[in-house]
């Protein structure tokens, strides 16, 4: 992260440094000695004489030397005279005229000037990392000046292969640095605009550089917390997809980066996938993530790791069968049979399907056995899953004897799970439900009430359980009171199951007319829902 940069680790060591220009080279020792004594003019003139340089070139070299020695203030003193000139119109127009024919000599002259400014920019950045950061603004302004000048030299964008490599290198650096400087200066909106400016214009960047900027922009879009509005491109878009907000833009950039990784244009960078994983799982788009994982070249992830991630992706959107197939591979005895996350996920999926419950018992037991050391805290979860799988298995057992044995074991597991995680609402609910199934209604009632307390009545299944237990105890009036309380606490689109329960309670009390009234209300609700539901009301279908 650029924000975390430590102050310059400029080489302080006085290992032999050499100036070279025009086919000659010279040691820096003499010049450094002159600089240290404060004889700047002498240092400059000795450089000019020995290397046949003009004074601008000599000052650029002196600036670089001081920058390398970590003396950013001194570097700035050497650079100031020529760097201010890039923004002054007369200089830049001569610069542009110079470059109009793009021959290598004029390109070199342009590069020297721009390099001087760039060195100033970096010096300002370094200085401000050491002290306060007002100078970032100035650095960013100078950096913008560089890009403006380059833009005037190459109004059609930088032509491929016609640019001297050193000039291109400097331009690429300035392009990459500008948004970083603006962020450091706290100018976030300008940084957004700068990112788009550098990414949507042809600067002839190499793949790596372009990839780094795209990633940095995606990260900034995702995490800065700013909404800068969509890029407005007008005619430029030319039928191409234009993201309509920052989140779409960030996801687009990350997907583009992943494609470059798949095509081998840029190196594998795990952080790209992790940013995508974070954001796509938050918007429940894990299938898109699965596609990315499937496209990755072998060797990027260990296969079990990939299977486990894919299983999480499938499970995240309820594709439990596909998730189980992957988990069976990864938990195979020859792979990683004791991976706790995979074991728990497998056990959870199995606990919801009576056909898989017996298989789930095995995974849950392995999870319990492996919850050791730093993973000790997961023992309770393992026991809970074991209890749930055993309970589910009991439902399809062939004999009464077997069923009651499994049910007892299930209760024992849930009980010990609770001793690991007292107050875990899920375990409390499940204990209530299991006791109810075993017709131990007093114990069931205790847990059901505790669940309502602990969740503040926020979960409808808790109310339903309580009402069902009361009704099993023939306490119909109380059950109805509970159902009414639950209806009060529930939004109307979720009231379906409660209304059905209420109607049944009326029937049980031989009050058919009231039951009909309740059913009528339920029907009206269904119709109202059908009328008002657009395609977006995914979350609020009436549940019946």
């Amino acid at each position: 992260m650029a924000d975390d940069e430590t102050p310059s680790q400029t080489q302080e060591s006085s290992t032999a440094r050499e100036f070279s220009a025009n086919g000659t080279s010279m040691s820096t020792t003499d010049v450094e000695a002159k600089l240290d004594k404060g004889n700047i003019e002498e240092a400059e003139s000795s450089l000019r004489e020995r290397l046949s340089l003009n004074s601008e070139e000599a000052r650029t070299l002196l600036g670089r030397l001081e920058y390398q020695r970590g003396n950013v203030e001194a570097a700035l003193r050497h650079l100031n005279p020529n760097s201010s000139s890039v923004s002054s119109s007369n200089y830049s127009s001569s610069l542009e005229n110079n470059c109009a024919n793009l021959d290598s000599q004029s390109q070199q002259a342009a590069r020297l000037v721009l390099e001087g400014v760039y060195l100033k920019v970096k010096s300002l950045q370094k200085r401000k990392l050491n002290f306060v950061f007002i100078g970032f603004v100035e650095a960013a302004q100078d950096c913008t000046n560089i890009l403006d000048a380059v833009g005037r030299i190459f109004p059609q964008g930088i032509p491929d292969a016609q640019v001297e490599s050193k000039l291109q290198e400097m331009i690429s650096k300035a392009v990459e640095l500008l948004p970083e400087l603006l962020k450091q200066a706290g100018k976030y909106q300008e940084a957004m605009a700068a990112y788009r400016r550098v990414l949507l214009n042809p600067w002839n960047l190499d793949n790596d550089c372009c990839g780094r900027i795209q990633k940095a922009f995606a990260v900034f879009l995702l995490h800065s917390g700013l909404e800068a509005g969509p890029p407005s491109l007008g005619a430029q878009a030319d039928g191409a997809y234009v993201p309509k907000n920052n989140l779409e833009e960030a996801i687009l950039l990350l997907l583009v980066l992943m494609r470059k990784i798949h095509h081998g244009d840029i190196q594998w960078d795990p952080s790209v996938l992790d940013h995508l994983m974070y954001r796509l799982s938050l918007c429940s788009q894990t299938p898109v993530l699965s596609n990315q994982l499937e496209e990755l070249k072998p060797g990027v992830f260990h296969r079990t790791e990939r299977w486990n991630l894919l299983a999480l992706c499938c499970s995240g959107v309820g594709q439990h069968k596909a998730a189980m197939n992957l988990l069976r591979e990864s938990l195979h005895i020859n792979e990683r049979p004791n991976d706790l996350t995979a074991l728990l996920l497998a056990a959870k999926i199995c606990s919801e399907d009576s056909q898989l419950a017996a298989e789930g018992v095995g995974y849950a037991q392995r999870a319990v056995d492996n919850a050791k050391g730093v993973d000790e805290h997961l023992k309770g979860v393992g026991l809970r899953m074991l209890g749930l799988c055993l309970g589910k298995q009991a439902k399809v057992s062939s004999s009464d004897f077997e069923r009651s044995r499994l049910q007892n074991e299930a209760l024992k597991c849930l009980d010990s799970a609770l001793s690991f995680e007292q107050d875990n609402p899920d375990i409390i609910f499940e204990l209530g439900a299991h006791y109810a199934e075993q017709r131990n209604l007093n114990a069931a009632l205790r847990f059901a009430k505790k669940y309502i307390d602990i969740t503040g009545g926020s979960v409808m299944k808790g109310w339903r359980l309580l009402a069902l237990i009361l009704s099993a105890q023939q306490r119909f009036t109380e059950a109805e009171v509970v159902t009414d309380a639950a209806l009060d606490e529930t939004g109307k689109w979720e009231q379906g199951p409660l209304l059905r329960l209420k109607a049944k309670l009326k029937v049980s009390q031989s009050r058919p007319m009231e039951a009909i009234e309740t059913y009528c209300y339920l029907l009206a609700l269904v119709q109202a829902q059908r009328k008002s539901s657009g395609p977006m009301k995914i979350d609020s279908q009436v549940q019946i």
């Binding site: 440094r17 650029t60 997809y241 687009l252 997907l255 999480l312 606490e489």
Partner: protein
Amino acid sequence: MSSSNPGSPSATATSSSSASSFSSKAHSCIQALSSILSTVPSSVSSSSSLLHDPTVSSQISTLLRDPDSGSGDNNLCRWLYDTFHSPDPELKLVVLRFVPIVAGIYLSRIALRKSLAGFEAILLALYAHETTARDGQPISVNVPDLTQPSIYHEAKSSVKTQATELNLAVISPTLEPHGTVRSSRRARIVGVALELYYSKISQMPVSSKLEFCEFCDIWATGIQNKPSSSSSSKQKTILLPWELLQPSLRILGHCLLGAHKSKKLYEAASMATKSLYERSLHDIDAKAILATSSLLRLEKMALDPKLNVDHTEIDMSLAL
């Protein structure tokens, strides 16, 4: 206060400019607050200074944490409620600044069966504001399909027959109006308040985000570390349904990977993320496991100097 507030309400009411009407709103707001807090520094004279003054926010935070706070007749809750209804957007920010602590304390106290009507009024006001602003509509994004060209890439094999297949991702579903906090909608109402907080997070002071991380950690673990004593007290575990977890993880992402420069905030966010990761394992919540584990890896990578080479550094050669 009188010296810093020369304009009487009647004098400012005649002013037509909205800026000065905002400033008079801010003045009356600050005046109302000074009757609730023990001291309001004289430097606090505008909504912006109200948002950023550490003594004011720490006093408000302390009062909100009081065991008897949050009831229907609580002065401070009333003040936050009124302030949020001010037309001055900056005053709204002042209220949003306390969303982490209001939501945090509120959710932690549900099981205690205390009156929390004051907190609920604030949260409902935020929810109603968002419902109106969005006209109840869901917020969704398209996950782009790279077979179609975009501003950032060219599609090499343009399959013309294939209609653009965009995956629509609902970030925040439809909002129904709520006049009271029904317990089944509680998580959603608090979640929407957190969404609103996130939408202004770049303007929130670090202290507010630190409070969020603190409560996130408590929600995840049920353990409250008291800074004053070495003991920590176990509270009741709070259900973390997706509607609460999703906005929380967005806020944490900002705290952990955003462009701010507070080391303390990075550390607090890192701790909260670790707790939420463990919690997601306990809940075996696949999406939460993916989101939190990727955040933890990203944090690690952000701290690794080998992965953070500065490519804009100047070439070390001294050749022209």
